[in-house]
Amino acid sequence: MTEERRRQIEEIVLSVLALKSAERAARLDSACGHDDDLRREVESLLAQETRAGTFLEVPALDAAARVLTDGYSDLLPGSTVGPYRIDAFLGAGGMGEVYRAWDTRLRRAVALKFLPREYLSDSAALERFQREARAASALSHPNICVVHDIGDFDGRPFIAMEYLDGQTLRAALKGAALPSRQALEYAAQIADGLATAHQRGVVHRDLKPENLWITPEARVKILDFGLAKVAEPVDQAEGATVTLATKPGMVMGTVGYMSPEQLRGQSVDHRSDLFAFGVILYEMLSGRRAFAGPSAADTLSAILYQEPPELTDPGINGLVCRCLKKDPGQRIQSASEVASNVGELLAAERGSSGSLQTGLKPARRSRFRIAAIAVALAAIAALVGFTLRSRLAIPHITRLAVLPLENISNDAEQEIFADGMTEVLIADLAQIGALRVISRTSVMQFKGTKKTLPEIAKELGVDQIVTASVMKSGGRVRITAELVDGATDQHLWANAYERELSDVLTLQAEVARAIADEVRARLTPTEAGRLAHNRKVVPAALDAYMLGRYYWDRFTPESLVKSIENYEQAAKLDPEYSAAYSGMAEARGGLFEMGASSWEDTIPQAKSDVTKALALDDSSAEAHQTLGFIRYLGWDWKGAEEENQKATSLNPAYSTVYVLECNIQRHLGRAEASIAAAKRGLEADPLAMITNQMLGNAYVNARRYDLAIAQYLKALELHPKDSTLLHHLGWAYVYNGENDKGLAAMESSSELEGLDKRLDPYLAYIHAVSGEKKQARQTLSLLLELAAKEPLQPGLIALIYLGLDERAEALAWLEKAYQQHSTMMIWLKVDPRFDRIRQEPGFQDLMRRVGLI
């Protein structure tokens, strides 16, 4: 269709729309003539007119805003809730969402109020809600909003109330005072409504201008009777003591109208409503809140300890003062007394010709303000606890655990991808200084766990938990993350993210940033920058990398070889994949460390891999840690420490950095530093075998064998039958002079590993030092025979000679070990097994050559 044609159609449509229906046909005839196409077009548009009235007229903006915030469900116009048909969304407040609806049975407009679901998490709360709502529905008074019905929709309880035109008192006030006569007229109605409710034993507990509705006829209707009680924690509500809502925002929102006894958590009765009434009356007359401060703490302090500036009319001021007495015993005692008081004031007001002066006298500052704030702060802290920390800007470090991302595809192969994603998310979050994030190995133990989140939070010692799921399909990846409060299991936040697979790192950074925002962890510019710059990945390379991680975790000679193969594949697919290079370097180092490969076969290549990794990404904690590790294996103590420190500052949650730090320090003989590093490692990774083992090792080198034994036993509770832990426990017993226990632990370790006891050099050493030299010599000769045929760690043979106290032989074998770059050289300075040989000149020379002295 041409532009011209379109204009023509539009002109005709507009001109016809402007006419009355009787005149339209003629106009159509004359405008379209014999052009049937034109006429069809015009008529098809005109046919929509009847529907066009309300179409799109209500902006979707507020729906969009609610989508932006998640968590707020939207009932959309036209949907039905039981007998009610939703007409419009009216608003959302602390007590839930309100909709205008049509009662199709009784053919009348109603307001439906849905309570926020977090208040109604269990059946007890639901019951309480229904009880309170029924009590409120029994109240029949012109100044109390009628509750028609209590219902439940999809598990969400709602109340159907009288639908009212008008506005809240808050809106009517517009931040200014009302004419005094009007204020008193409203006050009289409020007092009347309260008197009726109180006579029936129903206390409002949350009276405030937001809960007072003013109809166009100037009638006041009190809303939400009894609902405040529903919002209380179960135990407190049942005991009818504390009236603070569980939701922190709500506490803050209504705090200005709460009575001192409410704030103190003391028992609350109808006199709390009278206090709130006094605050409202004061505000209607003065346009100012009786108690207000720049912060919640100031407001609390004012309620507890200050008197508001006096109102100029002595009569009104007297009534307000009696309502605002801090001690409920001294307060005016009943709503009916208030009502008759207001009635008298109103009569005087109506009688007087001029208007009353209700302005404020000059303000009187309290001398006690500062002291009062301190007391109020203590009160708040006791009442609402953690939520206030961020409000009061007290620096706070959140401890966080990311549970293994759940693979929600049906594809079991995506399990490894999900685990890899868990690691990336942990690493991203760990870069944020204001967070303490639990390392991967500890959280991985909760994969598929049946434990509840609070149980897990307690076990890991964290404040909050991130649970998430991941799904990869058709080149896209979607992550859904949730943040849950560890203590209360309360759902704090959730969101879903989706991107191209190649943008998966950016996606993860987004999730991390959102979580940081949610726990109010402040990002430094550097941290924000690091999260903002994420490279694209090649999906197949990512898969290969994840597989590499998976095999690295198993940490056996065979799995490390597979791990290297996969990392190499990843690097081949994506030659700029830094993490793949540092991964292969680390795996090569691991092969050397466990004695499965020679120095020559692993370390030179590892060095070049890690150099490449760092050239590609100098901000990778893993790469710096790996370089540190390789330097450590090469006895470059200072260089190792430097690199490891860089890694630590880049990712403080990467527990491997503390393992290396502990190793460096303990072998250098710095006992305190090594214990401290081990403890930091445990903090970051409380359940991992390696971090638990390291603290034991640090104690051994500090010669605190009792502590070491206790630590290994504790670790064995977490990891029963772990052969490495049993091995180390054995040594701790031996050093502590408990050779029998030591042998038993060591033998069960060998058994678990399937080692031939006759060939076990460690057992031989223990036999030798406990006087059973014959047994030791048997092992020694077998090993010597073996060493003639195949490569064997010379250090192990040196160890048996040491046990036999044949120092020259021991030194000779140690020299061979040195030539092979053996990791045993690392032990020389502190290890108790070398105590008897340490002063020998040959040994001193060896220590010097490995940089230990």
């Binding site: 179409f55 979707a60 903006l61 998640d70 469900s73 939207d74 959302a92 929102g253």
Partner: protein, 187 residues
Amino acid sequence: MEEVTALLQAWSGGDQAAFDKLAPVVYNELRRLARHHMARERPDHTLQPTALVHEAYLRMANFQHLHWKNRVHFFAISSQVMRRVLVDFARSRERLKRGRTPQRLSLDECTNVGQQHDAALIALDDALTTLDASDARKCRVVEMKFFGGLSTEEIAESLRVSPDTVLRDWKLAKLWLLRELNTKDAR
């Protein structure tokens, strides 16, 4: 924030690529603010979307260096962002409905009703896309009015046309969209 100003200027000068850069920034800011308001900062918990957009603007743009026109452009952008937000949300929910519903999906959890509305919103979005191709200005008018909650005057300012033109566009666009939606329905 300087960047936002520059992007706004580029976009109002006709640079469409600038919108793609702006949209996520605006989205994030709107989202942050909305959450901030809804969550716990504000005592009264009421969320006024228009105020939200205004506040987002104030926070993001260096107000002193921008005049009225930039503000209008910003609102126009937020309208498009809002459209994307709503429609993406509706689409993802539709997808969930079709596929296997993951157990722990927040979107699904917090909105188990209103799915009919999702379909309507998606249909509207499709119709708008068609309209955009034939008559872009009308599409903008609908976006700004319906998704952005802008006044006729603000829209006029943003599109550099008279308020009367905006009203005419609005009227015609609604008829056009209704016809489009109804014929789609019938097919």
